[in-house]
Amino acid sequence: MSAGHTLAHDWFPRAIPDNVVIGDRSWLYSAYAFLHYRSRRPCGVRIGHDSGIYHGSFFELGSDGEVEIGHYCSIVGAVISTNRRVVIGDYSLIAHEVVLADADAAVPGGRGTGPGIELGRNCWVGMRAVLLAGVRVGEGAVVGAAAVVREDVPPYAIVAGNPARVVGAVRRPGVHTGGGA
């Protein structure tokens, strides 16, 4: 898919903004995702290859906002409301009604001034979770449904609750638990 064009399957009669790059075999549900998009960065949104951005996702970027989504990501329904930089690592999964925002009371156009948000590779964010300014989620971590994340999440941790706390851990790649063959 190339930027500056309309999507063949789209119902919404606007072009994808020129400063958006969508990788090979990736899917974007509609240019409606850019309803409130105001980014003037050289590249406002970059989506890697083989990633899906599905119905209910919105890029609510202010003029300085930037989003980078990796390869093989599934963004089921994330609202990204930022005037800073948000990075989502390869293989990450974000469920529906998730909000990543600069501020608690964020509004479209990203007037917030907080630091950005960074998710490492292979993160899983549960439905209705909220990730706020400055949060870094480590590789392989899991954010539980409806968690409100204000502090960094260590790699391979499971966090849940409001405010989110570490409640467990997932197995690190290459580390095997005993008992198996």
């Binding site: 309803l35 009371a105 409001n162």
Partner: protein, 192 residues
């Protein structure tokens, strides 16, 4: 779908006569008003320069009325209203917020059975048990964070901050910051 219906370019004069819109309002999505069925007059009042974004919905029962003051921004405010909900001036309501002035069903199990029968697709809704409805008042300059829920009978004082994900079940003092479920004061703010 007609794009004008989701980009604020539809004809606001097509709203019901009991909806009063101030000058300079931006009403992004026509469907925000699709479940507005107040029989009061006015049933919805928006002050001057109120911005209503796509995720907001006014679910207003015949007995309900909502009032929003000048300069307020409603991003994703889902109103569930059977009585009175008022927002002051310059109130910000962020994404995925619900404001409900009733539980909309009785707590008592036997009454709830009657309610279920009355609410069936071909049921007689006039036989529903009465709802408990208590007004919500949100004063000037309040911020309501992402995913918060504000429940019946609550008054949120001027300049208060409701943090993301808070579930507000009790009054909030002027200038206070509250967070959590149920919401607790995390900062009392400056005394007035």
């Amino acid at each position: 779908m007609d794009a004008a219906d989701v980009t604020g370019d539809w004809d606001y004069r097509t709203l019901p006569a009991n909806v009063r819109i101030g000058e300079g309002c931006y009403l992004e999505r026509r469907g925000s008003f699709g479940r507005f069925r107040s029989s009061r007059d006015p049933g919805l009042t928006l002050g001057r320069s109120v911005q209503v974004y796509t995720w907001t919905t006014f679910n207003v029962e015949p007995s309900g009325a909502v009032e929003v003051g000048d300069g307020s921004v409603l991003v994703g405010a889902v109103f569930m209203c059977a009585g009175d909900i008022t927002l002051g001036r310059r109130v910000t309501v962020s994404y995925c917020v619900t404001i409900a002035d009733s539980d909309f069903h009785p707590l008592d199990p036997e009454l709830r059975t009657r309610d279920a029968v009355a609410n069936a697709p071909e049921g007689d809704r006039s036989t529903r048990p009465p709802l408990e409805v208590r007004p919500i008042h949100i004063e000037d300059d309040v911020w309501i964070g992402i995913g918060a829920i504000v429940l019946k009978g609550v008054r949120i004082g001027r300049g208060a901050r409701v943090e993301a994900g808070a579930v507000v079940t009790r009054d909030v003092a002027v200038g206070a910051t509250i967070a959590g479920n149920p919401a607790r004061v995390v900062d009392r703010g400056v005394s007035p």
